[in-house]
Subunit: 217 residues, 2 copies
């Protein structure tokens, strides 16, 4: 059986690839694996059937034979451990690649998500401009540190890995914020990630999915 992942019935971004199923689609493409995608409406996310797959009512989930997984990081790591293409063979290099996955999700993404919350949920508040300046400063510190480590290297630690997949996916969220303008090395790194054939295929698949004709569920 090929794995089944869940995705928003229609992604709120209209197919820009920012919903987290894109990260799983990308990992599967890098690993040369296919999947079926089951759409989940927003109303269904909080229903028992979906909460049985993910207790926090989020997408994506991953079903493969008897295994049910949630959390994008765990799903990508599961795929990376079972197929070639996303983790080095050397044990120490493999542990470091996993460290970059955690760094992307736990150190770089949190202030970026806090920015998104401020823009989406608090944009009508009198304090938003001042808070955004503070959040952007925290994001900029992280980008500066990441850029310093990357230097002129192509990827974060040797060859492309699941750590790069996750870091590029996180940086993609900065989109039109302009926050990458000060860090041309990171902008180039992001462009290298987006140029990978596996990413292109994953991006096109989610775009086609999110812009398919017909009523939503």
């Amino acid at each position: 059986m090929i794995p089944v992942i869940t995705a928003f019935d229609r992604s709120p971004d209209g197919g820009k690839g920012l919903a987290r199923d894109t990260r799983v689609r990308w990992a599967l493409e890098e690993a040369g694996q296919s999947c079926d995608v089951r759409p989940v409406s927003f109303a269904s996310l909080r229903q028992p059937a979906h909460l049985a797959l993910n207790p926090f009512g989020q997408i994506p989930t991953y079903e493969e034979d008897d295994l049910v997984l949630f959390e994008t990081g765990a799903i990508v790591l599961h795929i990376a451990e079972r197929h070639n293409g996303l983790l080095p063979v050397d044990a120490a290099a493999r542990a470091r690649a996993i460290a970059w996955m955690f760094a992307a999700l736990n150190t770089v993404e949190p202030p970026i998500l806090e920015r998104q919350t401020a823009v989406l949920l608090e944009s009508d508040k009198p304090w938003t401009a001042e808070r955004l300046r503070s959040i952007d400063q925290r994001i900029d510190v992280r980008l500066g540190q990441l850029s310093a480590r990357l230097g002129d290297d192509e990827w974060l630690d040797g060859g492309f890995s699941a750590g790069d997949l996750m870091m590029v996916s996180v940086l993609l969220r900065l989109g039109s914020s302009g926050l990458l303008d000060k860090h041309p090395g990171l902008a180039a790194y992001l462009a290298r990630g987006e140029a990978r054939p596996a990413y292109r295929r994953a991006f096109e698949a989610q775009r086609t999915f999110n812009t398919r004709p017909g009523p939503s569920e």
Copy 2:
């Protein structure tokens, strides 16, 4: 060589166990492993010697033979993969335990850290009270979902795992917030985690470390 981890020279919490080295100490105790702890002053965190270990200037780091790791999640996973006591043997159960690690760090902890940022960095702002109400609502949604999944079980998925270690560590951050009062099942889960002998040993070790006599570095 036994591994060397870094910790704050003096934790800002004065030894309450909330600095992230406690999570690594706990994992090592569950695995029956010891470590050396090297203190790092706040000034040293941003110096080249420490940035070589962790490009984001955080603690803990982990050094073992030629391997240097950063990110608490990656370090705990590394320990869990190499020793008994933190991950089930069955492959599917193991993948689910890792999913709970990611859920703790990526779904439950982010709004808790956002609350901490609001309290520590923005407590003097006119908007803090209103924002705290909004953040607390988001935390409460996550706690309700977690409590529903846990139900009357002892741990999140079968026996105690690295997923529980991380989730308990995240819930410990709620401390005196009162946010756990509505969720007695989670309060009991947290108490079960804190009662584990390995946690007690890790807690005492960090408390002794953080309250040791002598000048700070």
